[in-house]
């Protein structure tokens, strides 16, 4: 390979990485946490820690969630009912309130009892949207930034492979005892090479999931003949979206249980996972029943639409070949199948991605620290502040979010928003701290992680009584798992902090801290 080409690839890898690294770390971190979002939900919403739903058939919707929906949501459209799964023991009801915000409530599937409001967005409501749209709503800015980061990630992976001089002879090489830049680069290469297939597939599939946003020309051109209805026509053919206008005349809602049974019969025993009632109480209301994909990688689009009043089948949808491919790729990314070994491996591979990004940034810093100091350039200080806040600080903020969840009283108005504000406030503080304490910031934030993670576990035990011994004995793996990962993270973060101190504390291994705090949050 010509030297000039490798050099230009090195430059590309270096600068694309420095500019977009912190954003990529955020996306990988939130994605890794989202792998266990439902388990984090159980941890953050103690009222939903029910025994797993019995495997024997479906709970009756007509006698449990329906009266609740009629009382809470009334005619607000649509009601969305998520059925219990192996990971979620409750029936979840979602409906729009007067302001159009989606309200989420949980119902005990055995008794139909409405559980107390969770008062928290939880992992599924906070970490997961953070992962793909950064909680930035204006102009879809979040989606586009994530898409830009995803494209850059592909560029970084390819250029990284090109500039790596000894992929095979360094395949197993990690020399923690060597000087900082060398040990950091070892860790960057190791995590990058070993998890390369995962990183490539997860990034590409993430972009393919949102193809309709990132590559709109494709469907806009294909559906151009439909004129102003192009989007509707595309959604109907690709995703099976079916609509009709409400009649404006009242009409009673037929039995939802009968519709579930009919859908199940259509799918030869395939189970439903979601029921959505459009315009409940209207004479032209309709009910959408979607099929579960818990035991398959492909996220099927099998949907049956029923007339809300008569219960007759209005429309059926199955993905066409091209969409089946898209749904397979999406399924690879979303990990919605029930496979615990794979779930843990996805989590670990995601954290390996965080490690790769963190050590990459750290290597940039270490390679320039002395020179910039000598030349009086402020580059290292600036990047170091952003890197500390963007990596270690993000983990500190995540842990602060969990601690706030256990400390805020449940009856607080707008409690979910307050929890999120605690996250962003804590994150802001870590950037200020990084700018102020400079090279000491790494060690001090590692200590903060250890303290906060331990506090979160202790507070969970104190405020809910579900301490680790009890959850382990009771087989409550979701809560026990979150506590266990937090404790493990606290240990690693504490170990890293002590190691940094011995090392002279200047410029630590963020890598360790990262893997360290690898709590699911």
């Amino acid at each position: 390979m010509r030297a000039g080409f490798r050099q230009s690839m090195t430059r590309l890898h270096t600068w694309a990485g420095v500019v977009i690294g912190a954003l990529l770390f955020l996306i990988f971190w939130m994605g890794s946490l989202s792998v266990f979002d439902r388990e984090v939900d159980r941890w953050m919403m103690p009222m939903t820690r029910l025994a797993p739903a019995s495997a024997s058939g479906l709970a009756s919707l007509d006698t449990t969630v329906r009266p609740v929906a009629e009382q809470l949501a009334g005619g607000a459209s649509p009601w969305t009912i998520l059925l219990p799964t192996a990971r979620v023991p409750t029936l979840e009801l979602r409906y729009p309130d007067g302001a159009g915000e989606i309200v989420r409530r949980h119902v005990d599937p055995a008794s139909g009892r409405l559980l107390a409001a969770a008062g928290s967005a939880g992992g599924n409501g906070f970490f997961f949207p953070f992962h793909y749209k950064l909680h930035l709503k204006a102009f879809d800015l979040g989606y586009w930034l994530v898409g830009l980061a995803g494209m850059t990630m592909l560029v970084l992976l390819v250029s990284g492979v090109i500039i790596h001089r000894r992929i095979f002879s360094d395949f197993f090489t990690f020399r923690p005892a060597r000087a900082m830049p060398r040990a950091t680069l070892d860790l960057h290469n190791l995590s990058g090479v070993l998890a390369l297939p995962f990183h490539f597939v997860i990034t590409l599939s993430g972009l393919i999931i949102l193809f309709a946003i990132y590559f709109p020309v494709a469907w806009q051109t294909a559906y151009a003949p439909a004129g102003p209805d192009a989007r509707q026509a595309f959604n109907r053919e690709a995703f099976g979206t079916w609509r009709r206008p409400p009649a404006g005349v009242p009409g009673p809602l037929a039995s939802l249980d009968a519709m579930l049974a009919a859908a199940q019969a259509q799918w030869q025993g395939g189970r439903p996972y979601m029921v959505r009632v459009w315009h409940p109480g209207d004479a032209a209301s309709w009910v959408e029943v979607r099929r579960s994909f818990a035991d398959d990688i492909t996220m099927n689009l099998d949907t049956v639409y029923f007339d809300g009043v008569t219960g007759a089948v209005l429309h059926r949808h199955q993905a066409r070949p091209v969409m089946r491919v898209q749904r397979f790729i999406a399924g690879l990314h979303f990990v919605q199948f029930e496979h615990w070994t794979l779930r843990w491996l996805y989590f670990l591979a995601g954290l390996a991605g965080c490690l790769m990004i963190g050590t990459g940034l750290l290597f940039w810093l270490e390679a320039r620290r002395a020179r910039h100091l000598r030349q009086g350039v402020a580059g290292v200080r600036l990047v170091e502040g952003l890197t500390v806040g963007g990596t270690a600080g993000l983990i500190v903020a995540t842990l602060a979010f969990l601690v706030a969840n256990r400390l805020l009283p449940l009856d607080l108005a707008a409690r979910p928003a307050i929890e999120m504000n605690v996250f962003f406030a804590a994150w802001g503080v870590t950037f200020v701290h990084a700018g102020w304490r400079a090279a000491h910031a790494w060690r001090e934030q590692a200590w903060a992680m250890a303290v906060l993670a331990t506090a979160a576990v202790a507070l969970n035990g104190l405020t809910t009584g579900d301490h680790l011994l009890r959850t382990l004995a009771a087989g409550n793996w979701a809560v026990a798992g979150v506590d266990g990962v937090l404790l493990l993270g606290a240990l690693v973060a504490g170990g890293v902090a002590r190691h940094l101190r011995r090392r002279g504390a200047e410029a630590p291994a963020v890598g360790g801290a990262r893997a360290a705090a690898g709590g699911r949050g």
Binding site: F171, R175, L190, F198, L332, L345
Partner: protein, 103 residues
Amino acid sequence: MAELLLGAAFAAGYLGFALFALSQPRHWQAVAGRAAVAPSRPLALRMAGWSGLICAFTLVVLRDGAAFGSILGALLLAACAAAVALTLSWRPKTLAPLARALR
């Protein structure tokens, strides 16, 4: 049974990558001691390494079918390789019996 197959697959993958590592002089010396300058049959070690990886992959495909098995195989082998790398960083002597058996 499923756990047993998974454990066997991890063991086969770990062993396979360990053999790969031992086929490299640097790792061989770290494991077998300075006296052992180089592995005697690097090519044979690599072939044995490949068979370990193939064996691991086959076991998970048998366990979970082609679709889930392939994904599990890819991720499990990455975990095996990481485990070997960390063994070589912190406890290289753990692999000494393996090196002795191969000498």
